[in-house]
Protein backbone atom coordinates (compact mmCIF):
# COMPACT_ATOMS: atom_id res chain seq x y z
CA UNK A 1 0.00 0.00 0.00
CA UNK A 2 1.24 3.46 -0.79
CA UNK A 3 1.53 6.05 1.94
CA UNK A 4 -1.40 8.20 2.97
CA UNK A 5 -1.35 11.92 2.18
CA UNK A 6 -0.81 12.74 5.84
CA UNK A 7 2.19 10.44 6.10
CA UNK A 8 3.72 11.98 3.02
CA UNK A 9 3.20 15.47 4.38
CA UNK A 10 4.64 14.65 7.78
CA UNK A 11 7.62 13.03 6.10
CA UNK A 12 8.15 16.28 4.21
CA UNK A 13 8.29 18.20 7.48
CA UNK A 14 4.81 19.70 7.45
CA UNK A 15 3.51 20.09 11.01
CA UNK A 16 0.11 18.78 12.05
CA UNK A 17 -0.86 22.38 12.76
CA UNK A 18 -0.19 23.48 9.17
CA UNK A 19 -1.82 20.32 7.89
CA UNK A 20 -5.07 21.17 9.71
CA UNK A 21 -4.82 24.75 8.50
CA UNK A 22 -4.50 23.44 4.97
CA UNK A 23 -7.59 21.30 5.46
CA UNK A 24 -9.63 24.33 6.61
CA UNK A 25 -8.33 26.44 3.73
CA UNK A 26 -9.20 23.72 1.24
CA UNK A 27 -12.69 23.39 2.68
CA UNK A 28 -13.13 27.14 2.30
CA UNK A 29 -11.69 27.18 -1.22
CA UNK A 30 -14.09 24.45 -2.26
CA UNK A 31 -17.01 26.41 -0.87
CA UNK A 32 -17.70 23.82 1.84
CA UNK A 33 -18.79 24.58 5.37
CA UNK A 34 -16.42 24.45 8.38
CA UNK A 35 -17.77 20.98 9.20
CA UNK A 36 -15.91 19.64 6.20
CA UNK A 37 -12.40 20.53 7.42
CA UNK A 38 -12.23 17.50 9.78
CA UNK A 39 -13.63 15.30 7.00
CA UNK A 40 -10.85 16.44 4.71
CA UNK A 41 -8.28 15.85 7.46
CA UNK A 42 -9.69 12.39 8.10
CA UNK A 43 -9.63 11.50 4.43
CA UNK A 44 -6.04 12.64 4.07
CA UNK A 45 -4.95 10.68 7.12
CA UNK A 46 -6.48 7.45 5.93
CA UNK A 47 -6.51 7.39 2.16
CA UNK A 48 -3.63 6.14 0.07
CA UNK A 49 -2.20 8.44 -2.56
CA UNK A 50 -3.82 7.96 -5.92
CA UNK A 51 -1.60 7.43 -8.94
CA UNK A 52 -2.14 9.98 -11.69
CA UNK A 53 -1.15 9.59 -15.31
CA UNK A 54 -0.82 13.01 -16.89
CA UNK A 55 -0.78 12.60 -20.66
CA UNK A 56 0.12 15.29 -23.18
CA UNK A 57 -1.39 15.39 -26.65
CA UNK A 58 -1.53 18.37 -28.99
CA UNK A 59 -1.02 21.18 -26.51
CA UNK A 60 1.27 24.02 -25.51
CA UNK A 61 1.92 22.97 -21.89
CA UNK A 62 0.23 26.09 -20.57
CA UNK A 63 -1.92 23.90 -18.32
CA UNK A 64 1.19 22.40 -16.71
CA UNK A 65 2.75 25.85 -16.47
CA UNK A 66 -0.33 27.14 -14.71
CA UNK A 67 -0.58 24.11 -12.44
CA UNK A 68 2.96 24.35 -11.10
CA UNK A 69 2.33 27.99 -10.23
CA UNK A 70 -0.53 27.22 -7.88
CA UNK A 71 -0.30 30.23 -5.62
CA UNK A 72 -0.58 28.95 -2.12
CA UNK A 73 2.76 27.19 -1.60
CA UNK A 74 1.36 24.73 0.85
CA UNK A 75 -1.40 23.73 -1.51
CA UNK A 76 1.06 23.26 -4.32
CA UNK A 77 3.43 21.14 -2.27
CA UNK A 78 0.60 19.09 -0.95
CA UNK A 79 -1.00 18.51 -4.29
CA UNK A 80 2.27 17.53 -5.89
CA UNK A 81 3.05 15.12 -3.08
CA UNK A 82 -0.56 14.16 -2.48
CA UNK A 83 -1.13 12.64 -5.84
CA UNK A 84 1.42 10.19 -6.98
CA UNK A 85 2.18 11.86 -10.27
CA UNK A 86 3.66 8.81 -11.88
CA UNK A 87 3.74 9.94 -15.46
CA UNK A 88 3.99 13.48 -16.77
CA UNK A 89 6.48 13.66 -19.60
CA UNK A 90 7.06 17.38 -19.14
CA UNK A 91 8.23 17.25 -15.54
CA UNK A 92 9.21 13.63 -14.91
CA UNK A 93 12.82 12.50 -14.55
CA UNK A 94 12.48 9.32 -16.59
CA UNK A 95 12.56 9.43 -20.37
CA UNK A 96 12.18 7.13 -23.36
CA UNK A 97 11.45 3.44 -22.74
CA UNK A 98 11.53 3.90 -18.98
CA UNK A 99 8.90 6.60 -19.09
CA UNK A 100 6.57 4.71 -21.40
CA UNK A 101 6.93 1.60 -19.26
CA UNK A 102 5.41 3.50 -16.34
CA UNK A 103 2.14 4.00 -18.22
CA UNK A 104 1.89 0.27 -18.75
CA UNK A 105 2.83 -0.45 -15.14
CA UNK A 106 0.19 1.89 -13.69
CA UNK A 107 -2.56 0.69 -15.99
CA UNK A 108 -1.85 -2.94 -15.12
CA UNK A 109 -1.16 -2.53 -11.38
CA UNK A 110 -3.83 -0.02 -10.45
CA UNK A 111 -6.76 -1.14 -12.55
CA UNK A 112 -9.69 1.12 -11.81
CA UNK A 113 -7.70 3.05 -9.20
CA UNK A 114 -5.74 5.67 -11.07
CA UNK A 115 -6.77 9.01 -12.46
CA UNK A 116 -6.09 9.92 -16.05
CA UNK A 117 -5.36 13.61 -16.55
CA UNK A 118 -5.22 14.71 -20.16
CA UNK A 119 -3.61 17.90 -21.33
CA UNK A 120 -4.18 18.56 -25.02
CA UNK A 121 -6.10 16.39 -27.40
CA UNK A 122 -5.51 13.79 -30.10
CA UNK A 123 -5.66 14.59 -33.83
CA UNK A 124 -7.65 11.88 -35.58
CA UNK A 125 -6.76 12.45 -39.23
CA UNK A 126 -4.16 10.16 -40.83
CA UNK A 127 -4.82 7.66 -38.03
CA UNK A 128 -3.54 10.12 -35.46
CA UNK A 129 -0.10 10.48 -37.08
CA UNK A 130 0.00 14.24 -36.36
CA UNK A 131 0.87 13.59 -32.72
CA UNK A 132 3.31 10.80 -31.94
CA UNK A 133 4.25 9.86 -28.37
CA UNK A 134 6.94 7.21 -27.90
CA UNK A 135 6.65 6.15 -31.53
CA UNK A 136 2.87 5.66 -31.48
CA UNK A 137 -0.03 7.94 -32.21
CA UNK A 138 -1.15 9.79 -29.08
CA UNK A 139 -4.73 8.66 -29.62
CA UNK A 140 -3.60 5.04 -29.01
CA UNK A 141 -1.84 5.95 -25.77
CA UNK A 142 -4.94 7.84 -24.68
CA UNK A 143 -7.28 4.96 -25.43
CA UNK A 144 -4.99 2.51 -23.67
CA UNK A 145 -4.56 4.64 -20.56
CA UNK A 146 -8.30 5.30 -20.38
CA UNK A 147 -9.25 1.61 -20.37
CA UNK A 148 -8.83 1.07 -16.64
CA UNK A 149 -8.89 4.64 -15.36
CA UNK A 150 -11.09 5.60 -12.43
CA UNK A 151 -11.96 8.83 -14.20
CA UNK A 152 -10.59 11.31 -16.70
CA UNK A 153 -9.70 14.94 -16.08
CA UNK A 154 -9.72 17.03 -19.26
CA UNK A 155 -7.27 19.81 -18.47
CA UNK A 156 -7.72 23.04 -20.34
CA UNK A 157 -9.62 24.06 -23.43
CA UNK A 158 -7.69 21.61 -25.67
CA UNK A 159 -8.88 18.51 -23.87
CA UNK A 160 -12.28 20.03 -23.06
CA UNK A 161 -13.28 21.66 -26.36
CA UNK A 162 -10.45 21.42 -28.91
CA UNK A 163 -8.95 24.91 -28.63
CA UNK A 164 -6.64 26.44 -31.25
CA UNK A 165 -5.63 23.23 -33.03
CA UNK A 166 -9.33 22.46 -33.55
CA UNK A 167 -10.12 25.99 -34.77
CA UNK A 168 -11.61 26.20 -38.25
CA UNK A 169 -10.64 24.45 -40.51
CA UNK A 170 -9.09 22.04 -37.98
CA UNK A 171 -6.54 20.57 -40.44
CA UNK A 172 -5.57 17.57 -38.29
CA UNK A 173 -9.09 16.90 -36.95
CA UNK A 174 -7.97 17.57 -33.40
CA UNK A 175 -10.74 16.19 -31.18
CA UNK A 176 -11.52 16.89 -27.53
CA UNK A 177 -11.27 13.94 -25.16
CA UNK A 178 -15.00 13.33 -24.68
CA UNK A 179 -15.48 13.04 -28.46
CA UNK A 180 -12.66 10.58 -29.14
CA UNK A 181 -14.21 7.49 -30.74
CA UNK A 182 -13.47 4.20 -29.06
CA UNK A 183 -12.52 5.77 -25.74
CA UNK A 184 -13.52 3.69 -22.70
CA UNK A 185 -16.71 5.02 -21.14
CA UNK A 186 -15.33 6.79 -18.06
CA UNK A 187 -16.56 9.80 -16.13
CA UNK A 188 -14.94 12.92 -17.58
CA UNK A 189 -14.51 16.23 -15.78
CA UNK A 190 -13.71 19.25 -17.91
CA UNK A 191 -11.55 22.00 -16.49
CA UNK A 192 -11.45 24.42 -19.44
CA UNK A 193 -9.39 27.54 -19.80
CA UNK A 194 -6.30 28.39 -21.77
CA UNK A 195 -4.86 27.64 -19.28
CA UNK A 196 -7.21 26.87 -16.40
CA UNK A 197 -6.59 28.81 -13.18
CA UNK A 198 -3.93 27.07 -11.06
CA UNK A 199 -6.02 27.09 -7.89
CA UNK A 200 -8.98 25.68 -9.80
CA UNK A 201 -6.83 22.78 -10.99
CA UNK A 202 -5.45 22.00 -7.54
CA UNK A 203 -8.88 22.38 -5.94
CA UNK A 204 -10.43 19.94 -8.41
CA UNK A 205 -7.76 17.36 -7.64
CA UNK A 206 -8.11 17.92 -3.90
CA UNK A 207 -11.85 17.44 -4.11
CA UNK A 208 -11.57 14.22 -6.08
CA UNK A 209 -9.00 12.79 -3.67
CA UNK A 210 -10.81 13.89 -0.54
CA UNK A 211 -14.30 12.78 -1.41
CA UNK A 212 -13.35 10.02 -3.79
CA UNK A 213 -15.74 11.39 -6.41
CA UNK A 214 -16.03 14.23 -8.87
CA UNK A 215 -17.40 17.53 -7.65
CA UNK A 216 -20.88 18.40 -8.90
CA UNK A 217 -20.72 19.04 -12.63
CA UNK A 218 -22.87 21.19 -14.89
CA UNK A 219 -24.54 19.85 -18.01
CA UNK A 220 -21.34 20.34 -20.01
CA UNK A 221 -19.21 18.47 -17.49
CA UNK A 222 -17.51 21.39 -15.76
CA UNK A 223 -17.28 21.63 -11.96
CA UNK A 224 -20.10 23.94 -10.88
CA UNK A 225 -18.06 25.42 -8.05
CA UNK A 226 -15.82 27.24 -10.51
CA UNK A 227 -17.78 27.40 -13.77
CA UNK A 228 -21.32 28.21 -12.69
CA UNK A 229 -21.03 31.96 -13.13
CA UNK A 230 -19.85 34.25 -15.84
CA UNK A 231 -16.80 36.44 -15.36
CA UNK A 232 -19.21 39.34 -15.96
CA UNK A 233 -21.34 38.39 -12.93
CA UNK A 234 -18.52 39.06 -10.48
CA UNK A 235 -16.50 41.59 -12.46
CA UNK A 236 -15.30 44.55 -10.43
CA UNK A 237 -15.93 46.78 -13.50
CA UNK A 238 -19.61 45.81 -13.57
CA UNK A 239 -20.77 49.17 -12.11
CA UNK A 240 -19.31 50.89 -15.18
CA UNK A 241 -21.23 48.46 -17.38
CA UNK A 242 -24.51 49.26 -15.66
CA UNK A 243 -23.75 52.98 -15.77
CA UNK A 244 -23.07 52.83 -19.51
CA UNK A 245 -19.41 53.79 -19.13
CA UNK A 246 -17.40 51.97 -21.74
CA UNK A 247 -13.87 51.98 -23.08
CA UNK A 248 -14.28 53.02 -26.73
CA UNK A 249 -10.62 52.51 -27.67
CA UNK A 250 -7.57 51.44 -25.74
CA UNK A 251 -6.02 54.90 -25.50
CA UNK A 252 -9.05 56.89 -24.45
CA UNK A 253 -10.05 58.51 -21.17
CA UNK A 254 -12.37 55.59 -20.34
CA UNK A 255 -9.50 53.09 -20.62
CA UNK A 256 -7.44 55.16 -18.17
CA UNK A 257 -10.37 55.39 -15.77
CA UNK A 258 -10.95 51.65 -15.86
CA UNK A 259 -14.36 51.68 -17.58
CA UNK A 260 -16.09 48.53 -18.77
CA UNK A 261 -14.39 46.76 -21.72
CA UNK A 262 -17.68 45.52 -23.23
CA UNK A 263 -17.43 47.63 -26.39
CA UNK A 264 -13.86 46.57 -27.12
CA UNK A 265 -15.01 42.96 -27.26
CA UNK A 266 -14.85 41.73 -23.66
CA UNK A 267 -16.27 38.18 -23.57
CA UNK A 268 -16.83 38.33 -19.82
CA UNK A 269 -20.63 38.31 -20.32
CA UNK A 270 -20.46 35.01 -22.20
CA UNK A 271 -17.63 33.25 -20.39
CA UNK A 272 -18.02 30.84 -17.50
CA UNK A 273 -14.91 30.89 -15.33
CA UNK A 274 -13.67 31.99 -11.92
CA UNK A 275 -11.16 34.63 -13.10
CA UNK A 276 -13.01 37.56 -11.54
CA UNK A 277 -13.19 35.83 -8.14
CA UNK A 278 -10.14 33.55 -7.81
CA UNK A 279 -8.01 35.70 -10.17
CA UNK A 280 -4.50 34.78 -11.25
CA UNK A 281 -0.97 34.69 -9.87
CA UNK A 282 -2.01 34.36 -6.26
CA UNK A 283 -5.06 36.56 -6.60
CA UNK A 284 -2.94 39.41 -7.95
CA UNK A 285 -4.88 40.27 -11.09
CA UNK A 286 -6.76 38.93 -14.09
CA UNK A 287 -6.97 40.12 -17.72
CA UNK A 288 -9.81 42.64 -17.19
CA UNK A 289 -8.04 44.09 -14.16
CA UNK A 290 -4.98 44.55 -16.37
CA UNK A 291 -7.12 46.55 -18.83
CA UNK A 292 -7.61 43.89 -21.48
CA UNK A 293 -10.97 42.42 -22.47
CA UNK A 294 -11.62 38.77 -21.63
CA UNK A 295 -11.14 36.65 -24.76
CA UNK A 296 -13.39 33.86 -23.49
CA UNK A 297 -10.63 31.23 -23.47
CA UNK A 298 -12.61 28.74 -21.39
CA UNK A 299 -15.54 28.70 -23.81
CA UNK A 300 -16.16 26.15 -26.54
CA UNK A 301 -14.68 27.21 -29.89
CA UNK A 302 -13.54 30.63 -28.70
CA UNK A 303 -11.06 30.93 -31.58
CA UNK A 304 -13.92 30.83 -34.07
CA UNK A 305 -16.05 33.58 -32.57
CA UNK A 306 -14.62 36.43 -34.61
CA UNK A 307 -12.13 39.04 -33.45
CA UNK A 308 -11.22 39.21 -29.78
CA UNK A 309 -11.95 42.94 -29.92
CA UNK A 310 -15.39 42.73 -31.58
CA UNK A 311 -18.57 42.91 -29.53
CA UNK A 312 -20.63 41.07 -32.15
CA UNK A 313 -19.49 37.79 -33.62
CA UNK A 314 -18.88 37.46 -37.34
CA UNK A 315 -21.10 34.90 -38.95
CA UNK A 316 -19.58 32.80 -41.72
CA UNK A 317 -21.50 31.27 -44.57
CA UNK A 318 -22.48 31.81 -48.18
CA UNK A 319 -19.16 33.62 -48.63
CA UNK A 320 -20.39 36.32 -46.29
CA UNK A 321 -18.40 37.48 -43.32
CA UNK A 322 -20.38 39.96 -41.29
CA UNK A 323 -21.87 40.19 -37.84
CA UNK A 324 -25.52 39.48 -37.12
CA UNK A 325 -26.51 43.15 -37.17
CA UNK A 326 -24.81 43.81 -40.51
CA UNK A 327 -26.51 40.78 -42.04
CA UNK A 328 -29.84 41.73 -40.49
CA UNK A 329 -29.65 45.36 -41.59
CA UNK A 330 -28.89 44.23 -45.14
CA UNK A 331 -31.81 41.80 -45.11
CA UNK A 332 -34.15 44.47 -43.73
CA UNK A 333 -32.95 46.93 -46.39
CA UNK A 334 -33.59 44.39 -49.14
CA UNK A 335 -37.07 43.62 -47.79
CA UNK A 336 -37.81 47.33 -47.39
CA UNK A 337 -36.60 48.13 -50.91
CA UNK A 338 -38.62 45.23 -52.31
CA UNK A 339 -41.72 46.50 -50.51
CA UNK A 340 -41.14 50.02 -51.82
CA UNK A 341 -40.64 48.78 -55.39
CA UNK A 342 -43.70 46.58 -55.12
CA UNK A 343 -45.67 49.53 -53.76
CA UNK A 344 -44.60 51.66 -56.71
CA UNK A 345 -45.65 49.02 -59.23
CA UNK A 346 -48.93 48.51 -57.36
CA UNK A 347 -49.59 52.25 -57.42
CA UNK A 348 -48.98 52.42 -61.16
CA UNK A 349 -51.25 49.44 -61.71
CA UNK A 350 -53.95 51.01 -59.61
CA UNK A 351 -53.62 54.36 -61.36
CA UNK A 352 -54.05 52.65 -64.70
CA UNK A 353 -57.10 50.78 -63.40
CA UNK A 354 -58.61 54.02 -62.21
CA UNK A 355 -58.04 55.42 -65.62
CA UNK A 356 -60.08 52.56 -66.98
CA UNK A 357 -57.04 50.88 -68.52
CA UNK A 358 -57.52 47.51 -66.89
Amino acid sequence: MTETFYEVMRRQGITRRSFLKYCSLTAAALGLGPDFAPQIAHAMETKPRIPVLWLHGLECTCCSESFIRSAHPLAKDVVLSMISLDYDDTIMAAAGQQAEAIVHEIVENYKGNYLLAVEGNPPLDEDGMYCIIGGKPFVEQLRYAATHAKGIISWGSCASWGCVQAARPNPTRATPVHKVPGLANKPIIKVPGCPPIAEVMTAVITYILTFDKFPELDRQGRPKMFYSQRIHDKCYRRPHFDAGQFVESFDDEGARKGYCLYKVGCKGPTTYNACSTVRWNGGLSFPIQAGHPCIGCSEDGFWDKGGFYDRLTDVHGFGVEANADEIGAKAATVVGAAAAAHAAVSAVKRARQKGGDV
Binding site: A243, Q245, F246, Q353
Partner: protein
Protein backbone atom coordinates in the same frame (compact mmCIF):
# COMPACT_ATOMS: atom_id res chain seq x y z
CA UNK B 1 -76.69 53.76 -54.29
CA UNK B 2 -76.31 54.77 -57.88
CA UNK B 3 -75.10 58.22 -57.10
CA UNK B 4 -71.50 57.04 -57.03
CA UNK B 5 -69.82 59.13 -59.71
CA UNK B 6 -66.77 59.18 -61.96
CA UNK B 7 -64.72 56.04 -61.22
CA UNK B 8 -67.24 53.43 -62.08
CA UNK B 9 -64.84 50.49 -62.28
CA UNK B 10 -65.43 47.36 -60.25
CA UNK B 11 -63.25 48.18 -57.26
CA UNK B 12 -64.83 51.55 -56.74
CA UNK B 13 -68.38 50.89 -57.68
CA UNK B 14 -71.04 51.47 -55.11
CA UNK B 15 -71.50 48.42 -52.93
CA UNK B 16 -73.01 47.35 -49.69
CA UNK B 17 -70.51 47.00 -46.83
CA UNK B 18 -70.90 43.52 -45.47
CA UNK B 19 -69.19 43.14 -42.11
CA UNK B 20 -68.11 40.23 -39.97
CA UNK B 21 -66.60 40.24 -36.48
CA UNK B 22 -63.16 38.66 -36.80
CA UNK B 23 -60.70 39.87 -34.16
CA UNK B 24 -62.07 39.56 -30.66
CA UNK B 25 -61.02 42.13 -28.08
CA UNK B 26 -58.27 40.02 -26.43
CA UNK B 27 -56.68 39.40 -29.83
CA UNK B 28 -56.71 43.12 -30.70
CA UNK B 29 -55.38 44.11 -27.31
CA UNK B 30 -52.64 41.49 -27.59
CA UNK B 31 -51.77 42.66 -31.10
CA UNK B 32 -51.03 46.20 -30.01
CA UNK B 33 -49.32 45.34 -26.72
CA UNK B 34 -47.22 42.86 -28.64
CA UNK B 35 -46.40 45.43 -31.33
CA UNK B 36 -45.16 47.97 -28.80
CA UNK B 37 -43.23 45.31 -26.88
CA UNK B 38 -41.47 44.30 -30.10
CA UNK B 39 -40.68 47.92 -30.91
CA UNK B 40 -39.21 48.43 -27.45
CA UNK B 41 -37.32 45.11 -27.59
CA UNK B 42 -35.78 45.91 -30.98
CA UNK B 43 -34.58 49.36 -29.93
CA UNK B 44 -33.18 48.30 -26.56
CA UNK B 45 -31.85 45.03 -27.97
CA UNK B 46 -29.95 46.85 -30.67
CA UNK B 47 -28.50 49.22 -28.08
CA UNK B 48 -27.40 46.30 -25.91
CA UNK B 49 -25.41 44.89 -28.83
CA UNK B 50 -24.12 48.30 -29.94
CA UNK B 51 -24.18 50.57 -26.88
CA UNK B 52 -24.47 54.34 -26.98
CA UNK B 53 -21.30 56.40 -26.52
CA UNK B 54 -19.91 56.19 -23.00
CA UNK B 55 -21.36 58.53 -20.38
CA UNK B 56 -18.93 60.38 -18.14
CA UNK B 57 -18.95 61.13 -14.43
CA UNK B 58 -19.04 58.78 -11.51
CA UNK B 59 -20.45 55.31 -12.13
CA UNK B 60 -22.77 55.81 -9.16
CA UNK B 61 -24.45 58.78 -10.86
CA UNK B 62 -25.63 56.88 -13.87
CA UNK B 63 -27.57 53.73 -14.64
CA UNK B 64 -28.05 54.19 -18.38
CA UNK B 65 -27.11 50.73 -19.57
CA UNK B 66 -28.87 49.23 -16.59
CA UNK B 67 -32.10 50.97 -17.64
CA UNK B 68 -31.72 49.90 -21.27
CA UNK B 69 -31.34 46.32 -20.14
CA UNK B 70 -34.19 46.67 -17.65
CA UNK B 71 -36.56 47.94 -20.35
CA UNK B 72 -35.46 45.09 -22.60
CA UNK B 73 -36.17 42.49 -19.93
CA UNK B 74 -39.46 44.08 -18.86
CA UNK B 75 -40.64 44.28 -22.49
CA UNK B 76 -39.55 40.69 -22.96
CA UNK B 77 -41.71 39.57 -20.07
CA UNK B 78 -44.66 41.58 -21.38
CA UNK B 79 -44.23 39.91 -24.75
CA UNK B 80 -43.95 36.48 -23.09
CA UNK B 81 -47.06 36.90 -20.96
CA UNK B 82 -48.95 38.32 -23.94
CA UNK B 83 -47.90 35.41 -26.12
CA UNK B 84 -48.96 32.85 -23.51
CA UNK B 85 -52.37 34.53 -23.18
CA UNK B 86 -52.59 34.63 -26.97
CA UNK B 87 -51.93 30.89 -27.18
CA UNK B 88 -54.57 30.37 -24.50
CA UNK B 89 -56.98 32.47 -26.52
CA UNK B 90 -56.27 30.32 -29.57
CA UNK B 91 -57.98 27.51 -27.67
CA UNK B 92 -60.92 29.42 -26.22
CA UNK B 93 -61.41 32.16 -28.81
CA UNK B 94 -63.17 32.04 -32.15
CA UNK B 95 -61.86 30.21 -35.23
CA UNK B 96 -59.88 33.22 -36.39
CA UNK B 97 -57.86 33.18 -33.15
CA UNK B 98 -56.44 29.77 -34.13
CA UNK B 99 -55.59 30.58 -37.70
CA UNK B 100 -51.94 31.65 -37.51
CA UNK B 101 -51.07 28.80 -35.13
CA UNK B 102 -52.27 26.01 -37.40
CA UNK B 103 -52.11 26.73 -41.14
CA UNK B 104 -53.89 23.84 -42.90
CA UNK B 105 -50.79 22.84 -44.87
CA UNK B 106 -52.20 19.34 -45.40
CA UNK B 107 -55.00 20.69 -47.58
CA UNK B 108 -54.43 21.00 -51.31
CA UNK B 109 -56.84 23.93 -51.48
CA UNK B 110 -54.62 25.85 -49.03
CA UNK B 111 -51.67 25.62 -51.40
CA UNK B 112 -53.86 26.26 -54.43
CA UNK B 113 -55.23 29.44 -52.90
CA UNK B 114 -51.78 30.42 -51.65
CA UNK B 115 -50.54 30.21 -55.23
CA UNK B 116 -53.39 32.48 -56.29
CA UNK B 117 -52.32 34.98 -53.62
CA UNK B 118 -48.73 34.83 -54.85
CA UNK B 119 -50.03 35.54 -58.36
CA UNK B 120 -52.00 38.47 -56.99
CA UNK B 121 -48.80 39.90 -55.52
CA UNK B 122 -46.96 39.18 -58.76
CA UNK B 123 -49.80 41.14 -60.45
CA UNK B 124 -50.66 38.19 -62.66
CA UNK B 125 -54.30 38.02 -61.60
CA UNK B 126 -56.72 40.88 -61.57
CA UNK B 127 -58.25 40.39 -58.18
CA UNK B 128 -57.38 38.57 -54.98
CA UNK B 129 -59.62 36.04 -53.38
CA UNK B 130 -61.69 37.25 -50.49
CA UNK B 131 -61.18 36.19 -46.90
CA UNK B 132 -62.73 37.17 -43.64
CA UNK B 133 -59.61 35.88 -41.86
CA UNK B 134 -56.07 35.84 -43.19
CA UNK B 135 -55.39 34.77 -46.75
CA UNK B 136 -53.29 31.56 -47.04
CA UNK B 137 -50.07 33.43 -47.88
CA UNK B 138 -50.49 35.69 -44.86
CA UNK B 139 -51.31 32.70 -42.66
CA UNK B 140 -48.15 30.89 -43.72
CA UNK B 141 -45.86 33.91 -43.40
CA UNK B 142 -47.28 34.76 -39.97
CA UNK B 143 -46.95 31.17 -38.85
CA UNK B 144 -43.36 30.71 -40.00
CA UNK B 145 -41.85 34.15 -39.51
CA UNK B 146 -43.91 35.47 -36.62
CA UNK B 147 -45.11 32.55 -34.48
CA UNK B 148 -41.92 30.51 -34.74
CA UNK B 149 -39.81 33.67 -34.78
CA UNK B 150 -41.33 34.76 -31.48
CA UNK B 151 -41.01 31.28 -29.97
CA UNK B 152 -37.34 31.30 -30.99
CA UNK B 153 -36.80 34.73 -29.46
CA UNK B 154 -38.60 33.75 -26.24
CA UNK B 155 -36.55 30.58 -25.84
CA UNK B 156 -33.16 32.17 -26.66
CA UNK B 157 -34.09 35.30 -24.72
CA UNK B 158 -34.96 33.38 -21.57
CA UNK B 159 -31.79 31.32 -21.98
CA UNK B 160 -29.70 34.50 -22.05
CA UNK B 161 -31.67 35.99 -19.18
CA UNK B 162 -31.16 32.80 -17.16
CA UNK B 163 -27.41 33.33 -17.36
CA UNK B 164 -27.86 36.44 -15.25
CA UNK B 165 -30.35 34.98 -12.79
CA UNK B 166 -27.97 32.07 -12.39
CA UNK B 167 -28.06 28.34 -11.75
CA UNK B 168 -31.08 27.25 -9.78
CA UNK B 169 -33.36 29.92 -11.26
CA UNK B 170 -36.26 28.63 -13.33
CA UNK B 171 -34.98 30.50 -16.38
CA UNK B 172 -31.63 28.74 -16.09
CA UNK B 173 -33.09 25.34 -15.31
CA UNK B 174 -35.73 25.41 -18.05
CA UNK B 175 -33.81 27.28 -20.74
CA UNK B 176 -30.12 28.20 -20.27
CA UNK B 177 -29.14 24.70 -19.17
CA UNK B 178 -29.99 23.13 -22.54
CA UNK B 179 -30.18 26.03 -25.01
CA UNK B 180 -26.62 27.25 -24.48
CA UNK B 181 -24.93 23.84 -25.00
CA UNK B 182 -27.25 23.31 -27.99
CA UNK B 183 -25.87 26.39 -29.74
CA UNK B 184 -22.30 25.77 -28.56
CA UNK B 185 -21.78 28.62 -26.17
CA UNK B 186 -23.35 31.79 -24.86
CA UNK B 187 -21.85 34.02 -27.56
CA UNK B 188 -23.52 31.92 -30.28
CA UNK B 189 -26.89 32.28 -28.57
CA UNK B 190 -26.35 36.06 -28.56
CA UNK B 191 -25.57 35.99 -32.29
CA UNK B 192 -28.69 33.95 -33.11
CA UNK B 193 -30.82 36.15 -30.87
CA UNK B 194 -29.62 39.14 -32.95
CA UNK B 195 -30.44 37.35 -36.20
CA UNK B 196 -33.86 36.53 -34.77
CA UNK B 197 -34.46 40.24 -34.15
CA UNK B 198 -33.77 40.99 -37.80
CA UNK B 199 -36.12 38.21 -38.86
CA UNK B 200 -38.86 39.85 -36.80
CA UNK B 201 -37.97 43.26 -38.28
CA UNK B 202 -38.17 41.84 -41.81
CA UNK B 203 -41.52 40.32 -40.89
CA UNK B 204 -42.71 43.68 -39.54
CA UNK B 205 -41.78 45.46 -42.79
CA UNK B 206 -43.64 42.86 -44.86
CA UNK B 207 -46.55 43.00 -42.40
CA UNK B 208 -46.89 46.81 -42.57
CA UNK B 209 -46.59 46.87 -46.32
CA UNK B 210 -49.02 44.02 -46.93
CA UNK B 211 -51.54 45.45 -44.47
CA UNK B 212 -51.51 48.88 -46.10
CA UNK B 213 -51.55 47.49 -49.63
CA UNK B 214 -54.36 45.04 -48.96
CA UNK B 215 -56.32 47.70 -47.16
CA UNK B 216 -56.18 49.80 -50.31
CA UNK B 217 -56.27 47.20 -53.06
CA UNK B 218 -57.95 44.01 -51.84
CA UNK B 219 -61.63 43.24 -51.32
CA UNK B 220 -61.72 43.64 -47.55
CA UNK B 221 -60.69 46.00 -44.78
CA UNK B 222 -57.41 45.22 -42.99
CA UNK B 223 -56.06 48.02 -40.82
CA UNK B 224 -59.28 49.24 -39.26
CA UNK B 225 -60.22 45.63 -38.45
CA UNK B 226 -57.36 45.44 -35.97
CA UNK B 227 -58.87 48.41 -34.16
CA UNK B 228 -62.59 47.61 -34.36
CA UNK B 229 -62.50 43.87 -34.81
CA UNK B 230 -64.91 44.08 -37.77
CA UNK B 231 -63.91 43.01 -41.25
CA UNK B 232 -65.81 44.91 -43.92
CA UNK B 233 -66.05 43.86 -47.54
CA UNK B 234 -66.14 45.82 -50.73
CA UNK B 235 -68.28 43.38 -52.65
CA UNK B 236 -71.20 41.17 -51.77
CA UNK B 237 -69.73 37.88 -52.98
CA UNK B 238 -69.08 35.17 -50.37
CA UNK B 239 -65.58 34.92 -48.89
CA UNK B 240 -63.44 31.88 -49.83
CA UNK B 241 -62.91 30.77 -46.25
CA UNK B 242 -66.60 30.63 -45.56
CA UNK B 243 -66.34 32.37 -42.23
CA UNK B 244 -68.61 35.13 -43.43
Amino acid sequence: MDTQPITADKAHAAHREEAVYVYEAPVRLWHWVNAFAILSLCITGYLIGSPLPAVGGEASNSFLFGWIRYIHFASGYILLVGFLLRVYWAFVGNGHARQVFAPPVWKATFWHELLHEVKWYAMLVKEPMKYSGHNPLATLVMHVMFVWGIVFMIVTGLALYGEGTGMGSWQHTLFSSWVIPLFGQSQDVHTWHHLGMWLIICFAIIHFYAAVREDIMSRQSIISSMFSGWRTFRDGRAPEDGHG
